[in-house]
Each structure stands twice: as structure tokens, then as C-alpha cells.
Amino acid sequence: MSQHLPILQVVVPLLAAPLCIFVRNGRAAWGLAVLASWVSLGIALALLGQVGTGGVISYAIGDWMPPIGIEYRVDIVNAWVLVIVATIGALVSPYALVSVEREIDARRIPLFYSAYLLCICGLLGIAITGDVFNVFVFLEISSLSAYALIALGRDRRALTSAFRYLVMGSVGATFIVIGIGLLYSMTGSLNMADLAQLLPGVWESRTVRVAYGFLAVGFCLKLALFPLHLWLPNAYTYAPSPVTAFMASTATKVAVYMLLRFFLTVFGWHFSFEQMELDRVLLPLALVAIVSMSLVAIFQVNVKRLLAYSSVAQIGYMVLGLSFATVTGLTATLLHLFNHALMKGALFMAMGCVMYRIGSVQIGAMAGLGRRMPVTMAAFVVGGLSLVGVPLTVGFVSKWYLILGALERGWWPVAVLILLTSLMALVYVWRVVEVAYFREYQGEGDAREAPWMLLWPTWALVALNLYFGIDAGRTAGIARQAAEVLMAGIGQ
């Protein structure tokens, strides 16, 4: 049984998804989704445990040996990403029950859970597979289900934002598949480990370099690196609350993982940084993303949109860590994948609670909520502090490694910039806090505390924010180990 965990990781949500449609009942579908997502989390944790002790797991699908057959290959890097996706998936699914009943038409609810599980399956699949074409397949599964999830939002603008995401996402996916095709034409292989062996022989060819370019643009579209982020703010703003919480914490993270996996494992450290000089492209883009998007976030009046812009800025931090091209920088990137998932998940879930009670997430409408919904707003405050990077939250740990990485390279202006943008984060978080705590409630409805079913997953994430902020030994250890694995590449 335990040797089949890699395939079960993908198959469990994949099979549960159509079952959700067959049961035709919202609550039953929800039960299935919760079950499948928690089983996925169990598998992901088990895999992390296995690679932590036993090294790399290689699983040949249908016993077709790689490089001909499809290989699932789990090392510490993707085990880490699997845990991130599965954790968020497992916490969002119980949260969805109440929230979805309020935000989505009743007859579409089974469809929602089906799409949700497919999305989880796609993201887990991208993370676990060791085959580049398989990456593309799972990318399409996750993207198509994501478009559907966003379009389920009740606000009609959800449709246009989903369509916009579809267009941009398809362009990205097409670029990626072109890149993969070019690699195949040069090497005749689709297996990542095999490619890593074959590529150095054809490094000099223009085709490989063009493939690299296509892949870079494709990944950056999917991970919403400035200026390819335009699909993200609307999609996050108008999607149903649980969808936003899930997507913001996982989809872009998996895209960052794809980028790391292709550029560091498949192409290799040497090729990416010494021949293609990837850092020269990523560093300025990341800096512009961080500064400009933090600035834009300050002026938003819709809190979900504010957080969405903040996400684009935070993605900038992850890319920035990579552009340092050092172990510390890469550790910061991998750590922030996890930490940012925790903080944004908590924040978007808190906003879901607000949406549930007062039907709006405009800053103006949130006046007085500090008194009316103290538990929800306290979650927002802690999540916000984490976003700012206050000590004893996970945000601080990420910032610490990021700034340490910048100083190691001697790039102190970058370090100053990181700190300045933390202040910008303080400003946009503070705007919400001030309205919620220092103004009187003005709406007429009864804004009571959100239901317990929404609060406990939110606070579970908040608690993780604090726990891994106070004791970051394990997460930082895994991130560093993963960074070292990525830097070493395969077979060296």
C-alpha cells in the first residue's frame, strides 16, 4: 500500500470528483470533498515523512519503466509543495460548506465540489509528476477547473474575470507546451531526470534556448509575475470566498514550483544562472512587482482586491529569493511558498466570514466590525501582522531569510526595499484595522460573529501562522534541505 502512495495522492481526489456529481446533493458532495481532501493531506504528510528518511521516491505508472513510461518522482521539494497544497485543500473544504451555500446557487453546489477536487488533483499532479508532458496535462486540469470555480461567483463580473483568466492562462499553458515540445524535439525525452542528463549535450543549440524562453514566459504568466499578473486581481476579487482562499494559497505557489523544477532541476543551476542569466531578468521584475503592487494595494477599497494585489507583491518576494541564486535566497523562496499560503489563506478566509455576514468586503462597509465580529477580525489582525512580517509570525521568518539572502549578496538596497515594502504592507493592513476597530458600525443588518464552521478553519490557519512563527525550526529546515536539493540538481 505505502509504495503506491504517489499515485494515490492524485487518484483519490480525481476519483472523488465525478462522484460528487453523481450524488447530486450539496451536503453529500461536501462530505466527499472533505474526506478526499483530508486523505490527500494524510498521503502528502506520509510522503514528506518517507522522503525525509528514505530520500527520493520513484514510482513508475503501470510499471512502465522511465524514461519511456510516466514517472512520479517525489523528493523533499515536491513533498513540501504537496503538503502545502493538501493542507490548504483540507482546511478550505470544511470551510466551504457554509460559505458556498451563501455564495453559490444551490443546484451548482455539487459541481463546485467536483471542480474543487479536480483543481486539487491538478495541482497535486503538477507537483508530484516527474514527466514534463504530464505537468502540462495536470496544469490544464487545474486551470480548467479553476476557471469554472471562479465563474461560479454570484457577482456577474466573476464571468468576465474567469474569461480573462482563461485567455491569459491558455496563452501561458500554450507557451509551456511549446517549450516542452521544443525540448522533446531536441532530446526525444519527456522524463525530467532523463532530460537533465540529455540537455547539457545540446545546451548550445538555439532551440533549447528558445524553449527556455517560452517556458519562462509561460510560468511567469501562471505565477502572475509582474507585468503578467493582470488576470489575478479580478479573479481573486470576484471568485467565491473559499475559491479565493484556496487559489491564492496554492495555484501561484505550484506555478513557482514548476518554475523552480524546470529551471533548476531540468535545465540545471549552471545553465539557468550562468548561461541564461535568469537572475538578471527576475531581479528587476521582482523588485518592480513588490514595490508597485504594494503601492497599488494601499489604494484599494475592496479588501479582497487589496489582498490580491498584495499577493502579486508577495509573489515578487518569492521570485526575488530565487534571483539571489544562493541557498539562503532559495530557502527564503521555498519557505515563503508555505508561509504565504498560511497567511493569505487565513486572511481570505477571514474576508469570507465578513462576506458571509455583511455581504460585502468593501473597506467602508467593515466599519465597527472589530466589536461586531471580534473573532473574525482578530484572525484578520493576526494574519495581517504575519503579512507585514511581525516577529513571532511566519511572515517574519520569511522576511528574515530574504533579507539575510540580500545582505549575503551585498545587495543592501534590496534589503532596504524589502523593509520599506513591509511598511507599505503595514499601511494597507492598518487601513482595514482602523476602520474595523475605530469606527461605529453603520450597516442595518445584524452583523453577528461568523458561524463556527467558518471560524475554526480560519483560526486553524491563524494558529499555524503563529506556531510556525514561534518554532520555525522544522519548516526552515525542510526549506533549506529542499533548496540544497534544487541547487545540486539531479545526478550530480
Partner: protein, 504 residues
């Protein structure tokens, strides 16, 4: 001793919980405050005893990032700060009982609650065992004092709160945190070590050290070195006991204490003085001393004048640290203590005048001293201590700071110290002089009319009560004023501790 260290953090938090539990019964609630404050002082005294006999108790509470821990450690300088803060907490609590009731403040439970939290964070700052811990408690202190600053809840208070958090957070995040991570990137440790941790690992000729020191001095916004002093006068919208303890003692002293501690235990004074790394900062501190005094002159509002006087006096401590020699450091540490007692007396008096006579401007104080002789006499003693005249404790710290500047070969700074003493004499002495010898000011007195608020502390009834400070407050004022005098004769405990810091 580690139990006592942990207790010093836990006790105020327990006190806060008690305050919350007893919120229905104001007398019991205040009793809880007083008892916790007394217990905390007793604990700090025990730690003091151990440290005086040469022990350095330490305890690690958590390790958030591998290699970077939240650790407490009691060394002489921290003990000095903790002693002052915990002792003055008792006095201030007594004072607050009179003030808050006499002034009919709202939300008193919240007030005492966050007061207790603030003291817990001050203990954390005092006993921080490394830079990271110091940073954490420094930030917690800003957060826990925010509700106190905005206590009144008015638009003005909110604006002040924004300035307060804005300045303190931006300086600490942009400068201080950068400096901390920089230190870690170079040395791989954040621990406080006698003699510092930078010698030998920092590239000296690059001029890194002066910049790093500057990042710390400006990054510790609570030290109110210009141009980052604006938050301090803004925070004066707080109720007077808050201004008294937090903005004459705990918060601002946490700032200058951190500057001193970092100079001594991270940089090492010998290292700093060999490089001359602090010369530029000496002059910025000197400028703050003079400019702060000059601005104080222009303020008619009593609390605003005291606030700028604080800005000026804080830079004495910073200056002492930047002198980077034994006398300077001793003077610096002594000034933390002496200024605390002097300035808290002045703030207490300002509050008493406000509660009893409803006057807040200096120009309204004429003749008031004849009606409130004890208060104005205390103000006079406090003034002497701030100026640095015998027979008050303030003369000792000025003495050592003067010695320090001569040893550093900076005669110009000696002049600055003298000029600033004259200035502070002029702007502070005006108040008792006016009070005792001035003409009665024409002020439309508005009686509060109800004596109900005074019954709680068994005070006096009717209009005779009008010019009498609440007895609880008066007791506090007399205590701190007496302490100013006592410290002239008996500065020994603080001197011993500082001598241990510089290894004498």
C-alpha cells in the same frame, strides 16, 4: 534565578488577567494592580541581589528561527532599567488611582489592563538576552501602549496614535531590523556579549561601523533622536499617568536603554571609540539636546513643554553612549535613572494641576503654587533634578556625562551640556516661580460640581476640595520628589550597577 526572570514577564500578565476579572469592582481591581506591581518589584529586587553578587541568570524561552532565540538574561544594565521601571510602576499605579477617578476617565479597566501589558513588555526589553528578543519586546511595547495613547478616543487622539505607531514602526522596521539582520549576516550571532560581537568580523575601513551604529540609533525611534522625535509630543494626548510612566520612564527609556545596551554589548565601547564611529552621532545627539530645549521654550502647554524637555534629556543618554568611554556609559546609565525620577515627578505634578485646578497652560499657573504648595514644591525639586543641581540625583548623571565628554576630548560637548542645563533651568523654573510668586491668573474656573467621584477614596467634599490634588496622587508625588533628593545622597545602587557594566 531563572524562575524570577520568567516571573518578571509573567507577573504583569497575571496582573492583567486579575484586572480583567475584577473589572466589576474598581477597588479590588486597583488593589490587584498595586499588589502585582509590588510583587514585580520584589522579584526584580531578588534578581538585583543575584546580579550584584556576580551571577548572570539566563533562560531561553523559544527558538523561532534556528540559531535565533527568544532569551532572557539579567545583566547589570538591564537590572538597573527593570528596577526603575518596576518601582515606578507601583508609584504610578497609586497616582493613577487618584488621577483616573478625579478626572472621571472612561474605560479605566482597559487602561490598567494595557498598562500591565506594557510593563510586561518593558521587562522583556530590560532582560532581553539578544538583539532579536530586544526587537520583539520593543515592538510589543509599541503595540501595547497604543491603546493607552489613544485612550481618549477623540479624533486628535487617533491622529496622535497614527503618528505614534507610524514613526515607531517605520524606524524600527526599516533601520533597526535591517541593522539586526546585518549584524547577523556578518557575525552569525545576535547575543549580547561583554566587549561586543563585532570586533574582528566587520570590515573596518569600509565605514560600515558608523553606518551600522547610525541605523541602530535612528532605528530605535523610542530614543527620540531628531528628526524621529515627533511621536513623543504627539503621544502627550494620553492621560497624564500614561505620559508619566510611559513617556518619561518606560517607553522612552526602553529606547535609550536599547541604544546604550547595543553600544556596550554589540559594538563594545572600546571598538567604537577606537574607530571614532560614533562622532557624527554625538553631534546629532547634541543638536537634539539644544533644539529640544529651544522648542520647549516656545510651548505654553505644560505637557508639551515637558515632552520637548524629555526629547532633549533623552539625547543626554544617547550622547553618553556615543561618547563610548567608561564615564560616558556610567553617566548615560545613571541618567536613565535620575531623569526617570525627575521627569515622572514633573508629569505627576502637571497631572495634579490638571485634575485639581483644571489648568494645562503655563500662562495660567500664576499664583497657583500658594494654593497647591506641595505639588509646586515637588515640581521645584523635580526641576532641580532635571537641570542637574544639588541636592538632587540629577547632578550625578550630569557630572559623569561631563567627565565623559572631557575624556573623549570633546570640550564642545561639555559646552553643549552646560548651555542645555541653563536652558532647562529657564523653561522649567518658570513654572514654580510663577506658581509661588506670580499674580493670580484670570482663569474661568469650571467646577465639575459633583463630589461623587471623590468619595471613593475618602477625600474631601465641596469646594474646598477644589485646589487639592487627590491624596493618592499626592502621595505618589511626594514619594518621587523625595526619591530625587535621596538619590543625591545615595546614588550608590545605580552607580554600582553601571560600574559593573563597564567592568570596574
Amino acid at each position: 534565578m531563572t524562575t524570577e526572570l520568567i516571573l518578571s514577564l509573567v507577573l504583569p500578565v497575571v496582573g492583567a488577567a486579575l484586572i480583567l476579572l475584577l473589572r466589576g469592582n474598581p477597588n479590588a481591581r486597583e488593589a490587584a494592580s498595586l499588589v502585582t506591581a509590588g510583587a514585580l518589584f520584589a522579584v526584580v529586587l531578588r534578581i538585583h541581589g543575584a546580579v550584584r553578587s556576580g551571577a548572570i541568570p539566563e533562560v531561553v524561552l523559544a527558538e523561532p528561527i534556528p540559531g535565533i532565540s527568544i532569551a532572557l538574561e539579567a545583566e547589570p544594565l538591564g537590572v538597573l532599567f527593570a528596577l526603575i521601571a518596576s518601582f515606578l510602576w507601583i508609584v504610578t499605579t497609586a497616582y493613577s488611582i487618584g488621577y483616573m477617578r478625579g478626572h472621571h476617565e472612561k474605560n479605566q479597566t482597559r487602561f490598567y489592563l494595557f498598562f500591565a501589558f506594557a510593563i510586561a513588555s518593558v521587562m522583556g526589553v530590560a532582560f532581553a538576552g539578544n538583539l532579536f528578543t530586544l526587537f520583539v519586546f520593543y515592538e510589543v511595547l509599541s503595540l501595547t501602549t497604543f491603546p493607552l495613547v489613544t485612550h481618549a478616543g477623540t479624533e486628535k487622539a487617533k491622529r496622535a496614535g497614527r503618528v505614534y505607531l507610524g514613526v515607531l514602526f517605520s524606524t524600527s522596521i526599516v533601520f533597526q531590523l535591517l541593522a539586526i539582520i546585518w549584524v547577523y549576516a556578518m557575525t552569525g550571532t545576535l547575543d549580547f556579549e561583554p566587549g561586543g560581537i563585532l570586533r574582528g568580523v566587520v570590515p573596518v575601513p569600509d565605514g560600515v561601523v558608523p553606518v551600522l551604529l547610525g541605523l541602530f540609533v535612528f532605528g530605535i525611534g523610542k530614543a527620540a533622536v531628531m528628526p524621529f522625535h515627533r511621536w513623543l509630543p504627539a503621544a502627550m494626548v494620553a492621560p497624564t499617568p500614561v505620559s508619566a510612566l510611559l513617556h518619561a520612564v518606560a517607553v522612552v527609556k526602553a529606547g535609550v536603554f536599547a541604544v546604550l545596551k547595543i553600544t556596550v554589548y554589540v559594538f563594545g565601547i572600546d571598538f567604537v571609540s577606537e574607530l571614532g564611529a560614533s562622532t557624527w552621532l554625538m553631534w546629532i545627539a547634541a543638536a537634539t539636546i539644544i533644539l529640544g530645549s529651544l522648542v520647549a521654550f516656545t510651548k505654553d502647554n505644560l505637557k508639551a513643554r515637558l515632552a520637548y524637555s524629555t526629547v532633549s534629556q533623552l539625547s543626554y543618554v544617547v550622547l553618553g553612549a556615543m561618547l563610548a568611554n567608561s564615564w560616558g556609559v556610567i553617566g548615560s546609565g545613571m541618567h536613565i535613572a535620575m531623569h526617570a525620577f525627575g521627569k515622572i515627578t514633573l508629569f505627576f505634578c502637571a497631572g495634579a494641576i490638571m485634575v485639581a485646578a483644571h489648568r494645562s497652560e503655563v500662562s495660567q499657573l500664576g499664583g497657583l503654587g500658594r494654593k497647591m504648595p506641595v505639588t509646586f514644591a515637588a515640581f521645584f525639586i523635580g526641576t532641580l533634578s532635571i537641570v542637574g543641581l544639588p541636592p538632587t540625583g540629577g547632578s550625578w548623571s550630569k557630572w559623569f556625562l561631563g567627565l565623559g565628554s572631557l575624556e573623549a576630548g570633546q570640550v564642545g560637548l561639555m559646552v553643549v551640556l552646560m548651555v542645555s542645563s541653563l536652558l532647562s533651568l529657564a523653561y522649567l523654573m518658570e513654572i514654580p516661580l510663577k506658581g509661588f510668586f506670580g499674580k493670580d491668573a484670570e482663569v474661568a474656573d469650571h467646577h465639575h460640581g459633583d463630589s461623587a467621584g471623590h468619595e471613593g477614596h475618602g477625600g474631601h467634599d465641596g469646594h474646598e476640595d477644589h485646589y487639592r490634588a487627590p491624596p493618592w496622587s499626592l502621595a505618589a508625588i511626594v514619594t518621587t520628589a523625595a526619591a530625587c533628593l535621596a538619590l543625591f545622597v545615595y546614588p550608590e545602587p545605580f552607580y554600582r550597577l553601571m560600574a559593573m557594566v563597564v567592568g570596574q
